[in-house]
Amino acid sequence: MTETTDIPGNDLELLRTMRSRNNQSWHAFIRNRTGMTGMLIFLLFVALAILAPWIAPGNPSAITMNILIPPNSHYLLGTTAEGQSVLMQTIWGTRSTLLVGLSAGALATLLSIIIGVGGAYSGGLVDDVATLFSNIFIVIPGIPLMIVLTTYLHHAGVGAMILVIAFTGWPFGARVLRSQTLSLRSRDFVRAARLSGEGTWGVVRRELFPNMLSLIIANLLGTIMYAIGAEVSLQFLGLGNINTVSWGTMLYWASNYQALLNGAWWWIIPPGVCIGLIGGALALVNRSIDEISNPQLAMSGRSKKRRLRRKLA
């Protein structure tokens, strides 16, 4: 197989600038306050999930006699109707929610890449069928489908839940990645690489992916958000394994024990706030990626205004 060095100098130049632009984006991301804040919050939850046995040692489901105790110095977030520590359950719950969220998000993104990029790159009938499939799955509402699938599975385990969520979470990403592939496919440097005899996989890996990376990451984060929301919803409905500790099952038990009507707000607030924080954090990261690739959207419109004023003057 011929190496990429064979392509005409002009395109090589373009290739280099595109690659270095990727590098610059990375630096821009590190300097971007919005994005870094989001990233830090997200990593904090990942650390919490990994370190749960050390931060909150013990069994989070252990039943005690101290039921429905409001937050105090011993139980920082109070207790459940079965006397479990809400703080401990929230910390341990991070594990299952993140595990399902990250795996289902990654799997769905992989499907989006295979169907979106694969379809667009193959073109012709393959692309038509792939596009039709994505468009149909976009309009079929996900949650009802997931509810039906998990009901058939009878208290779906972690693996089944990941598969069900990934199965409904791929189409939007496939559509976005497809249009990006189509626009890249017709660029000169990709054409040159193909003409120089590079195989399909080589072109995809060396020419397409480096230029789609930010889009793929943005899509991955969006899908993880979707997967976390779906997992929490299904667990809240009691369609997963209700004996595991997760944010969704916490809310399931809380509403089963009528926590709010007993005034036990401390049981409901923590899991929801955590979901909101993770979702918000991922949205912040996504926004900063958006801002870097599309500077018009940035909040600080000052330089733009100045330019505009100069133009008008």
């Binding site: 509402p141 009802p144 489908l145 009901t151 409905l237 809310l251 979702g279 959207l297 505009l308």
Partner: protein, 328 residues
């Protein structure tokens, strides 16, 4: 092919696909959900009804998949979805007919309010970009849309229903006042719908604000906007009639995606408020493993979402003449 014909063809295919998916799910899922169901129903149902259940789930081994598919399509065409287990022996179609108006009313009104309000706020913050309001609205919109609908529903229920006693805790109407077309009954129904509708509006508002802002900003950079400004046309007219009109179109195309999320969120909101719509019914069907009802609900919800998308697409074709020309 014209835009209209292409879209109609697509929705026909999507319609067929969701019908077929609905047929395949019970036959492809592992385990023997249907046999469990048959066991539970034995002795409670007439042999004739058992036979009907059997064919519905493809348990009758002697018929081929294709024959079963044919029978399924014929039953569908007659609006025959079988009998609900939860509300035995009421036919599924009757159960759904009773729940449908509540969901259509709740989601319909809440979505329209949320879309209109979100679009207006989006226009406004895009116009005042980087102002104090913009700096507040964008992160606020991002965080409110990150919370699950059902969690917001729980919180609103606690604060406005339980603590303040402003709104009822559940149901769509008072049990003492059956729904009717009288003034007190309508007031009662609206009163019960406010909190669930408020939940859906708050949870979906952020998405509309952000997407409208994102569409509005590039449209504000266009030359014709600068020309209008230079010509001294009033800001209000530039904002709404020049920029927002063009920014609204891409927002409409995002509707398909957004509607899926709103429907999903509304289903869970209904469950929290015990609101007697399709979402609450779906939850009951799932809890009781009422497969005939479950399947019919999936189909009805999918078709309703397809129809809503079709309407938006038709509207889009009307609003953007370019859509009819491209790809002709």
């Amino acid at each position: 092919m014209t835009y209209l014909r292409r879209r109609l063809l697509f929705y026909l295919i999507a319609f067929w696909a969701s019908i077929t998916l609905n047929f395949l799910i019970p036959r492809l899922m592992p385990g023997n959900a249907a046999e469990d169901l048959m066991m539970r129903m034995h002795g409670k149902v007439s042999p004739y009804a058992l036979k009907a259940l059997e064919s519905e789930f493809g348990l009758a081994q002697h018929t081929s998949l294709l024959t079963q598919y044919g029978q399924y399509l014929v039953a569908l065409a007659h609006g025959n979805f079988g009998v609900s287990i939860t509300y035995f022996p009421t036919p599924v179609i009757v159960v759904i007919e009773q729940a449908l108006p509540w969901t259509l009313g709740l989601i319909g009104v809440a979505t329209v309010i949320s879309f209109a309000l979100g679009t207006l706020i989006g226009i406004w913050v895009a116009w005042h970009r980087a102002s104090r309001w913009d700096r507040f609205t964008v992160p606020a919109a991002m965080f409110t849309s990150a919370f699950p609908y059902f969690w917001l529903a729980l919180i609103f229920l606690y604060v406005f229903g339980f603590l303040f006693h402003w709104f009822p805790l559940a149901q769509a109407y008072s049990s003492s006042l059956p729904p009717a077309l009288t003034v007190p009954s309508i007031i009662d129904i609206v009163y019960h719908a406010i909190l669930p509708a408020f939940t859906i509006v708050i949870a979906s508002l952020g998405g509309w604000i952000l997407s409208m802002r994102n569409n509005m900003i590039p449209s504000l950079q266009e030359d014709y906007i600068q020309l209008a400004r230079a010509a001294g046309i009033k800001d209000r007219i530039i904002m709404y009639q020049y920029a927002a009109r063009n920014a609204l179109l891409p927002n409409l195309t995002g509707f398909a995606m957004a509607l899926g999320f709103i429907v999903a969120g509304a289903i869970l909101t209904e469950i929290v408020f015990s609101y007697p719509g399709l979402g609450f019914l779906l939850f009951q069907a799932a809890s009781n493993q009422d497969y005939p009802l479950l399947q019919a609900l999936l189909l009805i919800i999918s078709v309703a979402v397809l129809l809503a998308n079709l309407i938006v697409d038709l509207l889009y074709g009307r609003l953007d003449p370019r859509a009819n020309r491209s790809g002709g």
